[in-house]
């Protein structure tokens, strides 16, 4: 169920103002790094831009001292909702599992939108999603341009591959790699291209930016579309889609379904372990892995992509100092890339430099949107780092 202000009362009053939310990496035992929160660091380490400040603002709103207004736009919308603050919050981690800053940010953003104060560019892609089912200002009919022979896939199948907008319109190489691997495995799978059971945006961009009513609409559509395929398992290579379908559809919109949702990395790892997928071609490369926020901190999936990488012959995996639950965000999520590009550039630059420092030849990830954010960091810094989704490397390792 979508939360209400009163649901956060305990957390609002419980914040200790300890600032763990913005200096979590030291808590993680990485003393050289104190950076934890992208929008906090981007804003000059300014306490105003921190999870602590968001709770303090919430308290003011609760007490009627501050109104929902454009005055707090920057505070609410510069947050990438990466959840690093939640990971390091004393209240959340130990005493009060409901002290989730990301949920609270999303709630406050939804209040902003209700009052007509949403960020214009977010509202614009929100409108486009309502018309064309994607936030990239592309036509719905072009969604499957990357898969010309889609008609060969069955109407009903055991598995359905939920591609997501970024892989469909931008990072199509990830979608193509996934399909190639599924084909090699000879699985009974399909994609949702048929009218009436067609894939729409998962709703994550809407939910993250406060457009919850629209988000629920697309969620309802996607659930029905997936049900029509008869699939028992939904595979997705996008971390945002994975979090949205597997968690938010049920938790926030009370939608009911009985299929399982798995990230592609987990799905393929299972296949490797069962011997169905053989990774035999060496990919001689030293790589480091960037944890997508939605897959890692939001959903707790840290090891499967790593194990999958390690199962590729020739791959040497080295970790960045901030990894797993302490990973630094790429800066693209939460609507920030659309509205505050500078923050994305700041965060991705930081991440790319961290990746370079490991001595890796390439940075890998498990999210097409992180791919986008990291790619921009590589371009901006003229970095020589290669960039791959884990799935792309798996594809290389298959004969």
């Amino acid at each position: 169920m979508l939360p209400k202000l009163n649901d956060f009362k305990k957390s609002i009053h419980g914040c200790l103002k300890c600032l763990g939310c913005r200096r979590g990496s030291e808590v993680a035992g990485i003393p050289e790094q104190e950076k934890n929160c992208p929008f906090h660091e981007y804003n000059n380490h300014n306490r105003i831009f921190s999870a602590q400040s968001i709770w303090a603002t919430g308290r003011n709103i609760l007490h009627g001292d501050v109104n929902i207004s454009p005055a707090i736009t920057d505070l609410l919308y510069e947050c990438t909702t990466c959840r690093a603050c939640v990971n390091n919050c004393i209240l959340e981690s130990v005493a009060n599992p409901n002290a989730d800053t990301v949920k609270f940010v999303e709630f406050l953003r939804s209040e902003m939108v209700k009052k007509g104060y949403g960020v214009p560019i977010h509202l614009k892609f929100g409108e486009h999603i309502a018309k064309e089912n994607n936030p990239y200002m592309e036509a719905h009919k072009d969604r499957w341009n990357w898969l010309p022979n889609k008609e060969q896939l069955p109407e009903k199948a055991e598995y359905v591959f939920f591609v997501g907008c970024t892989s469909s319109y931008r990072q199509t190489q990830i979608a193509k790699a996934t399909v190639n691997i599924l084909n090699k495995l000879g699985l009974d799978y399909t994609v949702m291209w048929r009218p009436g059971q067609d894939e729409w945006c998962c709703g994550s961009p809407l939910q993250r930016t406060g457009q919850v009513d629209n988000a629920k609409n697309v969620a309802e559509h996607n659930i029905q579309a997936i049900k029509k395929t008869g699939a028992k398992k939904v595979i997705t290579s996008c971390s945002g889609c994975y979090k949205m379908i597997s968690n938010d559809y049920k938790e926030l919109y009370d939608l009911d379904y009985d299929f399982e949702v798995v990230p592609t990395s987990q799905f393929l790892l299972d296949k490797v372990k069962s011997g169905e997928l053989k990774l035999t071609e060496p990919v001689n490369m030293k790589v480091t892995y960037h944890d997508p926020c939605h897959l890692g901190r939001h959903m707790g999936v840290y090891e499967p992509p790593r194990e999958l990488l390690k199962s590729i012959p020739g791959i040497e995996l080295v970790e960045m100092p901030r990894n797993r639950e302490h990973a630094w965000c790429c800066g693209a999520g939460g609507g920030v890339r659309a509205a505050y590009k500078d923050i994305t550039m700041f965060a991705s630059t930081e991440r790319i430099k961290e990746a370079e420092d490991t001595g890796a030849q390439a940075v890998t990830s498990s999210c097409p949107f992180c791919w986008t954010g990291l790619h921009e960091g590589i371009e901006e810094n003229k970095s020589k780092l290669g960039l791959y989704d884990v799935i792309e490397l798996v594809e290389k390792a298959i004969k």
């Binding site: 305990k10 300014n46 306490r47 303090a56 003011n60 207004s69 707090i72 009060n96």
Partner: protein, 546 residues
């Protein structure tokens, strides 16, 4: 000339022209005048503070010169300033300009192991300084907040938290301070143009006058802090006691004989034992029933209500001797060496100490866990100091009073300093409420405690207990006297004849402070609300709560 203190309202407290000057001085990224986004600067850490207001602006200077520039502008436009520290006090009761001295002032200027000090800016964290000191084989006192958030500024406020390297041994040995007028002064040897090696020279020691909190006399821009060698052997001993008096006796002995570097009683009672239930996988009602069967002063099986924590550092033989003596005293006093149990029972508290003092690789993580308890509802507290004669009785009385006032959850720590002559008592209690109405009810409870404290009964019973608390009578916002014609700096009200016991000290620091402020803060920028100490304003706000 009489001047009224500036009383900020929602009107333009910091005029546009002043905002522009501040922006020009510090850069756009380092200022904020959006009131709605300044909630976070209403008050320092701890409980939400009713009565606090969003400030009218916030600036983040990086250098002493920038702070001088800010004060110049503040004097020109006559707006109040509130200097804040992350983990120190600082409540914005009446609006004004927040000067955030920790965000960008985070440089460690000098570490001089030979002279035994580090010169740091106020935003340096305990953890940051610890990391710089450890390769040199040095450390600093335990902070009032965990290493990763505790800024040095707050350590200076509270002067460290230890009995040997803490208060009486001068944790802070010198400061650089910007006065409200924009002038710079230094304290300790640095005041005379020397290096920073000691606090006292042939000038009055003014170190404690400058805190980065609301209503103070100046803004700390650098602090020279005493650093200590990490002993070749370090050890922590924890003693469990069922009897508070015995625990206090051990604490007193450890301090009196200067055996341990640091020592304190760490106590929990009533609902604090919830932790026990979590660890043992029981439900809340199991816990309630269990505690009801035991009574409020008892701990669950295997737990002690009072734990004395003592840290030892030095040469191997020295530490072993200290630990051996400590263990003998524990047994003689009927306690039990509880170190191993404590690690599992109170992992957060243990880790805070462990990571600051024993495990030198990872300051921080455990200290987060140490704040697990008491994070919901209205949190109130009492800080008191007394001579050792009154400590036990005061403690027992205050616990009875808390019970009487319906305060169910109390935790506290107590330490001795001044070689066991003085007892520092810090109680934290919760009223376990979360909505605004309940918070007000909680504040009323606090007021009951205030009133009891101010009562004749209390004063007669505990004439020597000093509470960091409001005065008995409200002090009106004072009118000003011109600094040139004002009272002499050190003129104080006359006290009782020498040798006569003071029932109520006439040397009220509030009065003295007002006189000093008249001279050094002619525009009353730093204490615009009531011209009283911070403790006073806190107390007043409590009283005025609905």
């Amino acid at each position: 000339m009489q001047m009224k203190p500036p009383v900020p309202s929602d009107k333009e407290v910091i005029p546009k022209a002043a905002q522009k000057e501040l922006t020009d001085l510090l850069g756009e990224k380092n200022v904020c005048f959006n009131r709605d986004m300044l909630s976070v600067f209403r008050c320092g850490p701890g409980a939400p503070f009713p009565g606090s207001k969003n400030p009218h602006g916030m600036v983040q200077p990086e250098t002493t010169e920038e702070i001088q520039g800010i004060m110049k502008i503040a004097n020109e436009y006559k707006f109040p300033v509130i200097v804040v520290a992350t983990s120190g006090p600082g409540v914005c009761l009446s609006g004004g300009l927040i000067i955030d001295t920790y965000t960008r002032m985070r440089k460690i200027h000098q570490i001089d192991p030979e002279s035994g000090y580090a010169l740091v800016e106020p935003g340096v964290t305990n953890g940051q300084l610890l990391r710089a000191l450890r390769p040199l084989g040095y450390w600093i006192s335990f902070g009032s907040y965990p290493p990763y958030v505790g800024e040095i500024a707050s350590l200076v406020c509270f002067n460290g938290y230890t009995n040997i390297i803490g208060k009486e041994h001068h944790f802070c040995i010198g400061l650089e301070v910007v006065l409200p007028t924009g002038e710079i002064i230094r304290t300790g040897t640095a005041a005379l143009g020397y290096d920073w090696w000691t606090q006292y020279r042939g000038v009055p020691d003014l170190t404690s006058m400058w805190t980065p909190s609301f209503g103070t006399h100046g803004i700390i821009t650098k602090a020279a802090l005493r650093i200590h060698p990490l002993g070749e052997k370090r050890q922590i001993v924890i003693a469990g006691f069922n009897d508070f008096n015995k625990a206090l006796e051990l604490l007193n002995n450890l301090s009196k004989e200067a055996m341990a570097n640091t020592s304190m009683i760490w106590s929990h009672r009533w609902t604090e034992w919830e932790n026990y239930m979590y660890q043992n996988g029981k439900g809340f009602m199991d816990y309630v029933n269990h505690m009801l069967s035991l009574g409020p002063d008892k701990a669950p099986p295997g737990y002690y209500p009072h734990n004395v924590l003592a840290s030892f550092s030095g040469y191997k033989e020295q530490v072993e001797g200290g630990v051996k003596t400590c263990e003998r005293l524990i047994k003689e006093l009927g306690g039990e060496i509880n170190t191993e149990n404590f690690k599992n029972q109170w992992p957060g508290t243990w880790e805070w100490w462990n990571q600051h003092f024993l495990d030198l690789t990872n300051p921080g993580e455990g200290s987060v866990k140490s704040q697990v308890d008491g994070v919901e509802g209205t949190v109130g507290g009492l800080i008191a100091e007394t001579n050792v004669r009154q400590a036990k009785e005061f403690h027992h009385t205050i616990m009875e009073k808390f019970h009487e006032f319906g305060i169910r959850s109390v935790r506290y720590y107590i330490r001795q300093y001044d070689h066991g002559r003085t007892t520092f008592l810090r109680y934290l209690y919760q009223t376990e409420q979360e909505d605004p109405e309940a918070i007000i009810a909680g504040l009323k409870t606090m007021k009951q405690i205030d009133d009891w404290w101010d009562s004749k009964e209390f004063k007669e019973k505990f004439p020597d207990v000093f509470r960091h608390a409001p005065p008995t009578a409200p002090i009106e916002a004072s009118t000003k006297t011109e600094s040139s014609g004002g009272p002499p700096l050190l003129a104080m009200p006359s006290g009782p004849p020498p040798g006569e016991k003071t029932k109520k000290s006439p040397y009220r620091i509030v009065e003295l402070r007002k006189k000093i402020l008249d001279i050094i803060d002619p525009n009353n920028l730093m204490d615009p609300a009531t011209k009283k100490m911070e403790y006073d304003t806190w107390g007043k706000a409590h009283r005025e709560a609905k």
